[in-house]
Symmetry: C2
Subunit: 753 residues, 2 copies
């Protein structure tokens, strides 16, 4: 009732409207005069927009009534001054929008008065006293947050520009905005010129305030970067990442667009960071589209921003949670504020894709601009279509030549959802993990085989001030923390980012359609003189009671090695088909470095009959993995948590297959989700795997052939060509007097009874 | 659409109806002729009933189309023959109801044909071949399940009674029902005559089939038990429980009603078992109400069944999950089938309490009888009121003289929900735990301080066939598995059920109203020559930012002892205010028996300043506990999972305060839930406790006075009289020249600034 009343009142007031100031050319940055007119003329017709508008009015009014506070900067993230200035930027941006939509002067007064207080303070501000960043800010502990402030505040300034007197504008621009923009750019060239999401914020901030002020020098600086020769080619930031990647000769926003994404929109740090990074890209791009249409920025680089938005939306599980690859905190999803902006802008500017409306409905909000308005209107008109994520392979690297990630998903009903993500990407800069050819697996309940994500509790002050924890390096980045092969207890690239940035695995082939989907990739450099080759096969076929994942991991080295393949299965172990001995009274670490020092060894055994089955329970579902092993392979149950003096790590379980003292190791496993258990009815359905056995029929450099069977006595053969990805190539192979022939790099065939 | 169509069609067909058979006097057991007439005349007016009716038609029709299977009994629970016979009983009962409501002969035919198959098989059936129960059944591995079958099947027989020929009835009664009932009673006197929920099923089964057959001998046997002198007074069943408790001279259903509940409806085994046990009570009671109104069974023992139903509903957390006290599997809730029956029957017969309708709405189903119909109608008429659980103290023991449990809850908004359950009950028979004066704590998200529940995975075959695991005795029943004091690493009553059954703690006082609620109880016998006295104070007062729980636990012994008080906090430890040393490379057990052998010691420290604060994170909320400790007290972080060769245990964390080598130990802690964290916005609100410090001002046999303060500099004093629970008593105490005077056993006062 309240919503309706407020909106009705607002429409009424606007109808009376004296709207003289609209004759001038602001707002123009994100909101435009025409956009504002459209919104005002259609209030009451797009309920989701109205809802957000009313919520924003309530929020900003409450904030106005509490008064303005612009404290001298002092605190780290989480502390008072940090949080206060952060809140100020949000409130100013919102108040600016409200001033435009409602024409109520008090919103403009609020922004003006706050900006004037900043203009009072800024000229005398030293660097932030914390001095804990490689690019210390003034208002905040790092330039990144100073840039955040300006991206929002430039919008607020734009919205009240015409409300201000000329003298006020002069004071704000000379005492606050221009020196602020100079500080972020010429004052911090290393920050401003890097190809990195932090720098994108810097570019956007400087460019957006430049557009509002008609300051072409700032806009140019934002678009093309600083011409600073002092950025030497190999200079690194304090997270270990390069300031300028090899071959990148440019800086600034266009260079970010060129260098931050692969040609198909993959962001090398992964979706958690893309979600953060996309925001300044889209904000500044929108502002450029409004003010420099000659750049045609939304079509730049073959619509790279559109591709980036979709790559963000496709890198999610069934519930919209981002795959937590690299330094990602789990739980982040497409409900994030930045994705609201991305979905709305993509809807309006990239073809009104009706599937985007279903995400907007899930988000339950829209941005207060013409994009958000278009989305709310689309929803009100009943145009929504369900979002359908797809199987897709993304390339990595600015030119797409640095590996990538492959996503296979069954994309059917919720009861039949299975999605595997294989990572054969480049290092991913400072936030990258040493997890070549790793995979993570998801169903409709979430993680089945997890990626640990980051050892960090973002904005939770109790855990190292919310920053990356020591264990992020000693654990989360290490190879053993991921579902991939680790050789001789040493992480890929020896856990050295400098080596990692030189190399990347390569996609061997990707087949993302039909009932048998495959992604196959190889790494030549994760270890010296060693090839790793993993092939993941997602089968969603009526022949099987549930979708299954077949994992074939071949590792070949010149000299004998020890090979560990962990699976970080999520849930409680129920049963195995092999004997194991548990550590009863004492636990020891599994190793002493490269992450092994963080793992407790809980139990170990061997499978005499060549098949190791494990069965576990999670989220009221059952899961099984059956693996072809040799009697001499160690089967280890492990748990995270050793050498964790401050309880920074989760105590998650793992199962490790260890092959010792051999040059070649081929790991073959099949994972099947099955059945259900309800603690209220206490009924369990299909608690056991439908699979019986898996074995390796043939394995050499050229071919790997595996066979597996189910309990009904049916069996299947999977033939893989290891060196020829051609779809047209014909393969013939005789194994124990049986001829196998097929076309293309793989075939899965049911054997005749 | 489908639902509406089917119901409409059904109403139409019934309107045509030739209903000659209703002149006879069946059904009469649960359904009655009048009840069926009412239902049929009002179809289409109670949507929830219609929905369940249509679902049942779909389910039973599908089952009928698959045909009848009555296999020779062979398997344990989870195996084919067990599950098949179990499904048969449900299907027959449902088909019987459908025959009555729809008048479709095929339902009666289905029941008849299946019953005749049973009648063929039964006369020649030996005992079930598993022979693994102290009361082995014939159809199932235990008589309990045979009784379950008959409780349902007697209803099916009743529903098709008039459809059968006289000869068919004769065959069924002579070959199946009478011998079946004899087997459960005279054939298994130990099973039939025990005061135990299994026996209630036996009594109900025999009585219900007796009512249908008009077999007064069976009905009398069911009501009054067998007169078997061979049940000696101290005979025990194989779970260690007594066949007949001391002083119980009767057997049979009325004796169960007398002996199973305390006078206010508490069931000594706890709510998980009450949920199971209540079903045959209510079913047989309903049948008796329909057929032997002279017993006035629903009013028996001052309405004990009504009290039992409410005690079941009140022993739930905010989400309707039962407190997992004693051998309970977690996750069981008021959505369970048995509670649907209980809620519906209670609604119809115990005063149409509109709060019950909100539970029925949450359940989303009703039973297909006049009670379920009344509920569906009440909902359709908009009578629903929200369920409000209450603070309440339940007595234990048939006469209410064996301790009990006390529930304190804030009962306000979801954001402000806090509920503590203190257990000072009797042993609870074979399923009881050694957890005197333990508590568990809940908020709107679920468990804050957990009760472990049972070490059992019910009906999950992989875990010991779904039966109780070895660890249920070695871990789940032990005192250290609970939030209560353990002395010298020995469980209460030395972990011996025979000792436990002799004693119980006693309520000292209970105050369940207002802003300061208190439950206080004492145990004299958990340890020899030792008194344990715990007082829990739940404070929900505007003075505090959140509801808090104050825990004062006094233990006094004749000789020096070691006292451990664990809290099994649910979540991830964030921070402490004291130094601790973690075990980095190796873990050892905390002890070697009484559950300690299952605990890994992860870290230990001491608090030099007399206050130990811990802060943890769970379910997107923050929690803190501050404790008054001495510098010599050990502060131990521990984790479950040692000596667990089959991964049967959860790896849950605990914090243990250990006081060594002293005769008296007083543990004082305050627990505060506070703040929130959202992984999508990455914002944390109030991550730190609002409390500053807690200290013991005075502590002797007569009085304990504690003082605590918050970070705003305010402070409070809690005065407890330890030996006088009188509300009228006046107390005066001088501490450091300050006089404290108050009336009644406790007072919480804010100190003057």
């Amino acid at each position: 009732m309240k919503n309706k009343f407020d909106i009705a009142l607002l429409i009424f007031c606007l109808a009376l409207g004296i709207n003289s100031i609209l004759a001038q050319n602001h707002p123009k940055l994100i909101l435009t005069q025409e956009g504002v007119r459209n919104i005002k003329s259609s209030l009451g017709k797009a309920p989701l927009f109205d809802k957000v508008l009313v919520e924003t009015i309530v929020e900003v009014d409450a904030e106005i009534s509490r008064g303005i506070a612009v404290p001298i900067p002092k605190d780290m993230a989480g502390g008072y001054t940090h949080e206060r200035h952060k809140r100020n930027w949000f409130m100013m941006q919102k108040a600016g929008v409200l001033y435009q939509v409602t024409e109520e002067d008090r919103y403009a007064v609020y922004v003006r008065d706050m900006l004037l207080e900043y203009a009072e303070m800024y000229p005398n501000l030293p660097l932030h006293p914390t001095n804990r960043s490689s690019a210390t800010g003034k208002i905040f502990w790092q330039c990144l947050n100073d840039a955040n402030w300006l991206v929002y505040t430039s919008q607020a300034y734009d919205c009240i520009y015409t409300f201000l007197t000329k003298e006020e504008r002069k004071q704000l621009e000379e005492d606050l905005f221009r020196p602020y923009a100079d500080f972020l750019s010429t004052g911090n060239p290393k920050f401003f010129n890097r190809i990195h999401n932090h720098s994108t914020w810097g570019n956007a901030a400087v460019g957006m305030i430049g557009l509002v002020m008609n300051d072409e020098e700032l806009v140019s600086r934002a678009l093309y970067g600083l011409n600073i020769e002092s950025n030497s080619k190999n200079e690194r930031d304090n997270d270990g990442g390069l300031i300028r990647p090899d071959g990148m000769k440019k800086a600034g926003f266009l260079a970010q667009l060129d260098g931050s994404f692969s040609p198909d929109g993959y962001f090398t740090e992964g979706p958690y960071y893309l979600r953060y990074a996309i925001f300044p890209f889209l904000q500044f791009a929108k502002a450029l589209a409004n003010n420099k249409p000659e750049l045609d920025i939304l079509a730049y680089r073959d619509k790279i921003l559109q591709k980036a938005v979709y790559s963000l939306l496709y890198q999610t599980d069934a519930n919209g949670l981002f795959y937590p690859i690299n330094d990602a905190q789990k739980g982040m999803s497409w409900n994030a504020r930045e994705v609201v902006t991305a979905v709305d802008l993509a809807y309006l500017h990239f073809g009104k894709d009706p599937m985007l409306l279903s995400i907007a409905e899930a988000q339950g909000k829209v941005v207060l601009d013409e994009a958000g308005f278009a989305v709310a209107k689309g929803i009100a008109e009943g145009l929504t279509q369900p979002m359908q994520q797809v199987s897709i392979a993304y390339t990595d690297g600015p030119n797409g030549g640095q590996g990538g990630i492959g996503i296979l998903r069954t994309s059917t009903t919720p009861e039949n959802e299975l999605c595997v993500v294989m990572k054969y990407s480049a290092q991913g800069m400072g936030h990258g993990h040493f997890d070549k050819l790793s995979y993570s697996l998801y169903d409709e309940t979430g993680e089945i085989m997890q990626d640990y994500g980051a050892a960090r509790w973002v904005n939770i002050d109790q855990k190292g001030g919310g920053r990356y924890l020591k264990e992020n390096n000693t654990w989360a980045k290490q190879s053993i923390a991921h579902n991939t092969v680790v050789i001789n207890e040493t992480s890929h690239y020896n856990g050295d980012i400098k080596i990692g940035e030189k190399y990347h695995p390569d996609l061997f082939y990707f087949h993302g359609e039909g009932e048998v989907q495959v992604v196959s990739a190889k790494s030549q450099h994760a270890y010296p003189d060693t090839e790793l080759h993993r092939t993941l096969v997602l089968v969603n076929d009526e022949q099987f009671s549930h979708p299954i994942l077949i994992d074939v991991f071949k590792a070949s080295s010149d000299t004998p090695k020890r090979f560990d393949l962990p699976v970080w299965f999520q849930g409680h172990l129920l049963q195995t088909n092999f004997e194991y001995e548990s550590k009863l009274n004492a636990l020891e670490c599994l190793g002493d470095g490269h992450g092994y020092q963080h793992i407790w060894k809980e139990a170990a055994g061997n499978a005499a009959d060549g098949n190791a089955h494990i069965n576990w329970f999670s989220n009221q579902k059952f899961y099984s993995m059956i693996s072809a092993v040799k009697p001499g392979d160690d089967l280890i149950f492990a748990r995270l948590g050793a050498n964790d003096p401050n309880f920074n790590l989760r105590h998650d379980p793992a199962f490790i297959i260890r092959k010792k003292d051999q040059k070649e190791a081929t790991f073959v496993s099949i994972i099947e989700p099955h059945g259900a258990y309800d603690p209220v009815t206490e009924l369990s359905e299909q608690p056991f795997t439908s699979l019986e056995e898996v074995s390796v029929l043939h394995d050499d450099k050229g071919y790997t052939v595996i066979q597996f069977s189910n309990k009904a006595g049916e069996s299947w053969t999977l033939c893989l060509a290891n060196n020829n990805a051609s779809k047209e190539a014909n393969h013939r192979l005789e194994i124990e007097e049986v001829l196998y022939s097929w076309e293309g790099p793989f075939i899965l065939k049911k054997n005749k009874g």
